[in-house]
């Protein structure tokens, strides 16, 4: 199996879990949000632990150990959840990064999020490893010594940090102040980093769907109760513990260093980190997306595109007309994903306007709305001319499908008029109305799966617009109409669209039979 197959395999796994659990309960659709939840769990449980921690070299171990003496006590459970939460946080962060990497989400308008996310990795590593030192048991002793020896491999330091852990007399309360800074100060820095990380995306999912959040927390609680974390004896610098129950999620680098060398671990860390930072700048054949263009004469300043843009690429400014209070949308070309969701949000994007060339407030140059309307009209006319008296014909089905999502193998079927869109969020709901009035027997809109949208919010906005929960909405008369269908199908799930079309044909045939 080649590396090129990895993205496809990941997508298959996402789709499999979607089918089994539904998108809202599918954890690998919400890895970032779950990592956020784990972080807040760590912050809250950490506050409790900090309150009971004796921050001195001689008292730290006893203060934490006291929590474990009472089985199933709040402190003991929180201590275990803190540790398991940290493991989950590290695992979820790694999977989140892997998912974005496999989906190729690190270039162009996503560069900022990628870079700010990658920059958090060293902070996470330092915060996580530092937590083991505060306990000052034999695992903490091992980790602190190994970390010091790793840092000493750098030629910059005049003295050796590892001397701090030669004998018990070397470990002072002042050194513990440094430990506290590492494990409390760095997570505070992480909060700021996370805030930066989600700056350029609107409605960032910082809390997973409730069923997932409940399941995640309940699992960690069950684990904490079933397998409580125990200390591994007080630190004794005069000896090396013969066997350590090591946390491989967080402390894997220590054994790796002793099995190889500190220099190799430094090389792996530095090369890996630099590769992540340089990845968005690697030349690629994937062109920068063509960005949305605002037409001042048709922009009313209603702010719908500003609200719906998934990447905060639109701001509102004073309209060139200089009319008091009149605003205009302004597109930031560096942030624009070219998804067209703003076009679908624009109230001027209605095909019913009696103008030859449909010019809307904001449009995509690579697939202008007027082109879409012309194509729809032309294809409907062609169909009407090709089968005017065919008794078996139930009328054409117009399929608006997302170019990022599933394809339809039934596209070649004579009764289906397929109109691919950059994203279904680009589709103004009035186009459905327009198609049905202009001769379509049915309209099928195929979005990507919820939480699987390449442009984050396209599938959600489409669903909400079609159900009337979001402006611009589909006319009430069509919302529950059986000849209007919304299908969720990710790339590769062509069968979902085929099945939807088959269902729609059956509905149309049934209707024709009953109405004769």
């Amino acid at each position: 199996m080649s590396l090129a197959a990895a993205p496809k395999l990941w997508r298959r796994l996402e789709q499999l879990l979607d089918r089994a659990l539904g998108a809202r309960a599918n954890p690998i659709r919400h890895l970032g949000a779950l990592a956020f939840l784990a972080f807040w769990l760590l912050a809250l449980s950490g506050l409790w632990l900090y309150a009971v921690l004796d921050t001195s070299a001689s008292g730290a171990y006893a203060s934490i150990e006291a929590l474990s003496r009472v089985p199933w006590s709040i402190g003991g459970v929180l201590r275990s959840m803190h540790r398991y939460g940290a493991d989950a946080f590290v695992m979820l962060t790694a999977l989140h990064l892997l998912r974005e990497l496999l989906h190729g989400r690190f270039r162009h308008f996503r560069r900022f999020s990628w870079l700010t996310g990658s920059a958090l990795l060293p902070i996470i590593a330092v915060s996580a490893v530092g937590g083991f030192w505060l306990n000052w048991d034999r695992l903490g002793q091992f980790s602190a010594t190994a970390t010091a020896e790793w840092l000493d491999a750098l030629p910059l330091l005049g003295s050796t940090l590892a001397r701090n852990f030669l004998t018990t007399a070397n470990v002072s309360d002042r050194l513990f102040s440094l430990f506290v800074f590492v494990h409390v100060g760095m997570p505070l820095l992480l909060v700021f980093g996370l805030w930066f990380h989600i700056q350029r995306i609107t409605r960032a999912e910082v809390f997973p769907p409730r069923p997932l959040a409940v399941g995640f927390l309940a699992t960690l609680l069950a684990l904490a109760l079933a397998l409580p974390i125990q200390s591994q004896g007080p630190a004794q610098l005069a000896s090396i513990p013969p066997s350590l129950a090591i946390d491989w999620f967080i402390l894997f680098a220590h054994p790796l260093m002793y099995a190889t060398s500190a220099g190799l671990v430094w090389a792996i860390a530095m090369v890996g980190f630099l590769a992540l930072l340089l990845l968005p700048f690697v030349p690629t054949r994937i062109a920068r997306p063509t960005v949305a263009v605002v037409d001042p004469d048709n922009c009313s300043g209603c702010q719908r595109c500003f609200v719906d843009c998934p990447y905060a690429a639109i701001t509102m400014a004073a309209h060139p007309s200089k009319r008091a209070g009149h605003q205009i949308a302004v597109v930031d070309v560096d942030l624009c994903a070219g998804c067209g969701i703003c076009v679908g949000a624009c109230p001027s994007s209605t095909p019913f306007r009696h103008i030859e060339e449909l010019v809307t407030g904001i449009d995509m140059p690579q697939q202008a709305l007027t082109t879409l309307r012309s194509a729809l009209r032309q294809r409907l006319q062609q169909h009407a001319q090709s089968s005017p008296h065919d008794a078996a014909d139930t009328g054409p089905i117009v399929l608006f499908r997302c170019s990022q999502g599933a394809d339809a193998s039934a596209e070649t079927a004579g009764d289906v008029i397929t109109l691919p869109l950059i994203c279904t969020g680009q589709l103004p709901p009035s186009f459905i109305d327009y198609a049905l009035r202009d001769g379509a027997a049915a309209v099928v809109v195929a979005t990507c799966r919820l939480s699987g949208c390449t442009y984050r919010l396209g599938a959600q906005w489409t669903s909400e617009r079609l159900s009337g929960a979001r402006e611009p909405h589909l006319r009430a008369a069509y919302r529950d109409a059986p000849n209007v269908m919304l299908i969720e199908a990710d790339a590769g799930e062509n069968r979902e669209i085929d099945m939807g079309l088959t269902t729609m044909r059956a509905r149309l045939t049934q209707f024709k039979a009953t109405s004769v």
Partner: protein, 182 residues
């Protein structure tokens, strides 16, 4: 508009319900708990093999100056600004630290550590971890901190019985001016 009766769901639900979904979730959360629970403790890590001890050779010590202080000539003094005309010129650079360790008569470590700092006037530091077999061992440590001397300025020879997993620290006590084993 064509009116047709409804016979099928409109879109795949975002949340699945029913026994299959519950079983799926239980399996998934079970796998998650198993992964976290197992790899946060297991497999155990053995830093040393059962019959090994660890010797840590760690010394931080500032070597002696590489040369003596000397008197500046009147010509040299004249070239200096009036406020800097000190008659005695002492070089800042210190000697590198040379440390040798023999265990049971065999060379175990040979190190030369340069002085730290841009002017090479700081302390030199050596640090080495040496896993050794537990039992009675003969240690011989030698250290030179003066580039102008030929031999070693400090030596220590001692027989130590090391227990398995014991950490033996070889250091230098600057107050007493001796090498130490602890």
């Amino acid at each position: 508009m064509v009116e047709v009766p409804s016979t099928a769901p409109r879109a795949a639900p975002a949340t699945r319900r029913g026994p299959a979904a519950w079983v799926g979730q239980i399996i998934l959360y079970g796998l998650f708990a198993l992964t976290i629970g197992v790899f946060s403790h297991w497999p155990p890590y053995h830093h040393l093999s059962g019959d090994e001890a660890l010797v840590k050779l760690s010394i931080v010590h500032a070597g002696k100056p590489v040369s003596d202080c000397r008197q500046r000539t009147p010509e040299e003094l004249a070239k200096l600004p009036p406020n800097m005309r000190a008659a005695t010129n002492c070089p800042r650079e210190r000697s590198p630290l040379v440390v040798e360790l023999d265990i049971d008569g065999k060379p175990a470590a040979r190190m030369s550590a340069p002085p730290s700092g841009l002017s090479r006037d700081g302390a030199s530091a050596v640090y080495r971890r040496l896993p050794v077999a537990a039992g009675e061992r003969e240690f011989a440590v030698r250290m030179r901190d003066n580039a102008r001397s030929a031999g070693f300025d400090y030596t220590l020879e001692r027989r130590v019985t090391l227990k398995p997993a014991q950490v033996l620290v070889i250091d230098f006590d600057p107050h007493r001016g001796t090498l130490t084993l602890q």
